[in-house]
Symmetry: C2
Subunit: 254 residues, 2 copies
C-alpha cells in the first residue's frame, strides 16, 4: 500500500509535536500530503475554556472569522454528527447520523461559499472529560480523496491523542476512604434511590442509610448528594456502567 509509509511518517510528526505550532505544521503537512486543503483540530476538555481547549486549523480567514466569531460551532451539524459516530465520517454522509435541519443546510452552504467543501471528520470522546474532532477539508471544487480516508482516520486519532496530552488530563484525585457500606449507599443513591429505598434494598433502617451518606459527605467535605456521587464517580468508586441501567431510556420528544 503506497500510502503506508507516508502515514507512518506523518503520524510520527504529529505525535512528536511538542507544541501547538508544531502540531499546526504537522497537520498542515498531513492534510496537504493526503490531498486535503485544510484541517481543523478541536479538543475540548470541558469546563476550562482557557487551558482546557485546543483549536488548531488552517481554515480560510473568512470562514474562520465567521465560524468562530459568530460561534456557529454551537449549532454545527458536523459536531453533532461526531457525537453519533465511533469512526471518522465524510460530511456528505452526515444525514446518515443525524437529521439536517434547514439551518444546518444553510450553515453548510455558507461554509461552501467560504471555501469549505466536503470534509472528513474523526471524532473522539471521553465521557465526563472531553470531546474532540480532527477534520480534513477540501475546497468546494475539489473532492475528498477517498483512498486516503484510512490514513486520515489514523492521523486524526493520533492528533487528538496528542492534543489531549498537550491540553492535559484532569488532575487525579486520590480515592476517598469510604467503607464498604458507605460505598453501597452512595451507589444506590447514584442509581436514583432515596434513602428509604436503599434501606429496603440493603435491609437496614432508613436512619442508618442516612447516617452512612452523611459520613460519606463529610469525608468528601461536600454538602449535597449531587456532589457526593460526582466525587465518588471521579474517584472511581462507582463507574458509569454501574448506573447505566438504572435510568431508563424513555421516549423523548421527537
Amino acid at each position: 500500500m503506497k500510502h503506508f509509509y507516508l502515514t507512518e511518517e506523518l503520524a510520527q510528526e504529529i505525535s512528536g509535536a511538542a507544541q501547538e505550532e508544531q502540531l499546526f505544521a504537522a497537520l498542515s503537512k498531513a492534510a496537504e500530503r493526503m490531498g486535503f486543503d485544510h484541517f481543523a483540530l478541536a479538543y475540548d476538555r470541558r469546563g476550562d475554556a482557557e487551558t482546557g481547549s485546543l483549536l488548531v486549523h488552517n481554515y480560510p480567514d473568512a470562514w474562520a472569522s465567521v465560524f468562530i466569531g459568530f460561534d456557529l460551532s454551537a449549532n454545527d451539524p458536523i459536531r453533532r454528527a461526531g457525537e453519533r459516530s465511533l469512526t471518522g465520517f465524510q460530511w456528505c454522509d452526515v444525514d446518515q447520523f443525524i437529521p439536517l435541519s434547514r439551518g444546518d443546510r444553510q450553515l453548510l452552504m455558507v461554509a461552501r461559499e467560504n471555501g469549505i467543501g466536503d470534509g472528513f471528520t474523526v471524532p473522539r470522546h471521553l465521557p465526563g472529560e472531553a470531546t474532540g474532532s480532527c477534520t480534513f477539508v477540501v475546497n468546494p471544487k475539489g473532492s475528498v480523496p477517498t483512498d486516503m480516508l484510512h490514513s486520515a482516520e489514523i492521523l486524526g486519532a493520533v492528533a487528538l491523542a496528542r492534543a489531549r496530552q498537550l491540553v492535559g488530563t484532569l488532575p487525579y484525585r486520590k480515592r476517598a476512604v469510604l467503607t464498604k457500606r458507605q460505598r453501597e449507599c452512595v451507589l444506590w443513591s447514584a442509581r436514583g434511590k432515596t434513602a428509604g429505598e436503599t434501606a429496603g434494598i440493603l435491609g437496614i433502617s432508613t436512619e442508618t442509610v442516612v447516617r452512612h451518606l452523611k459520613i460519606a459527605r463529610d469525608r468528601y467535605a461536600v454538602h449535597s448528594g449531587q456532589l457526593l456521587i460526582l466525587c465518588a464517580l471521579f474517584d472511581g468508586l462507582i463507574g458509569f456502567s454501574d448506573i447505566y441501567d438504572w435510568w431508563r431510556p424513555h421516549e423523548r420528544a421527537p
Copy 2:
C-alpha cells in the same frame, strides 16, 4: 510494512461480519494472526441490557465464568482506565490512567492465574449512547506483540464500529434535550448549589430554577437530582471539569 496487508484483510473480515458468530471468527483469527491468545469485544448501548449489549470473546472458560459469573467487570480497572483514554492502551500501563487499588491488583492477579496475562484494550465512547472496548490478550507467559499494536488499534476500532451496527444505534435525539437555561441550572446543581443559591447566581427567582430543574428531570425521566446530573454528565452537557473546582480537595481523615 509487512503487517499492512494483513491488517487490511482482517479489517475487511471484521467489518463484513454479518452476525455475532462471524464477528467471533474474524476476531479470533485477527487475535491469533497478530500474536495474541485471546480477545474480548464488549459493546454496551445504554439502558437496554438485552438487545443493547454485545459481548464476544474467546477467554478461557475458567476466567470467563469467574469474571462474568461474579460480575467482576463492575470493578474492572481496565474498564475504568478505558473511560480515561482516547486510544488503545496496554494493561501494564493502566496506572498511568487510573490509580490501582489493592483490590484492582488482586483482580489482575486472579486473571493471571486464569490464563489472562497482559493485554491491549481499545476503548471507544459515544457520550449519551454507549461505551465499548475491544481487547486483545496474551497468556501470562507471553508478551504483547508491541509491533502489532497499531494493527490492534485499527482492528479494535473496526470491530467496535461493527458491533455498534449489529447492536443498533439509539434513535436520534437532538443534543439540546435541555435548553441553555436548563443546562445552567443543572450545572450549578452539579456544583452543589441549592435552587436558591442558583437563583441568586443566575439572577432569577428560586421558583424558576426549580421549574427548570423539574423540566430537566422530566426530559430525562428521572426522579432525583442525582440521576439528573449523571444523565447530563453522560450526555456531555456538563463535564467533570465543570465541577472540579467546586468540591474542595479537603483533607480526609488519615
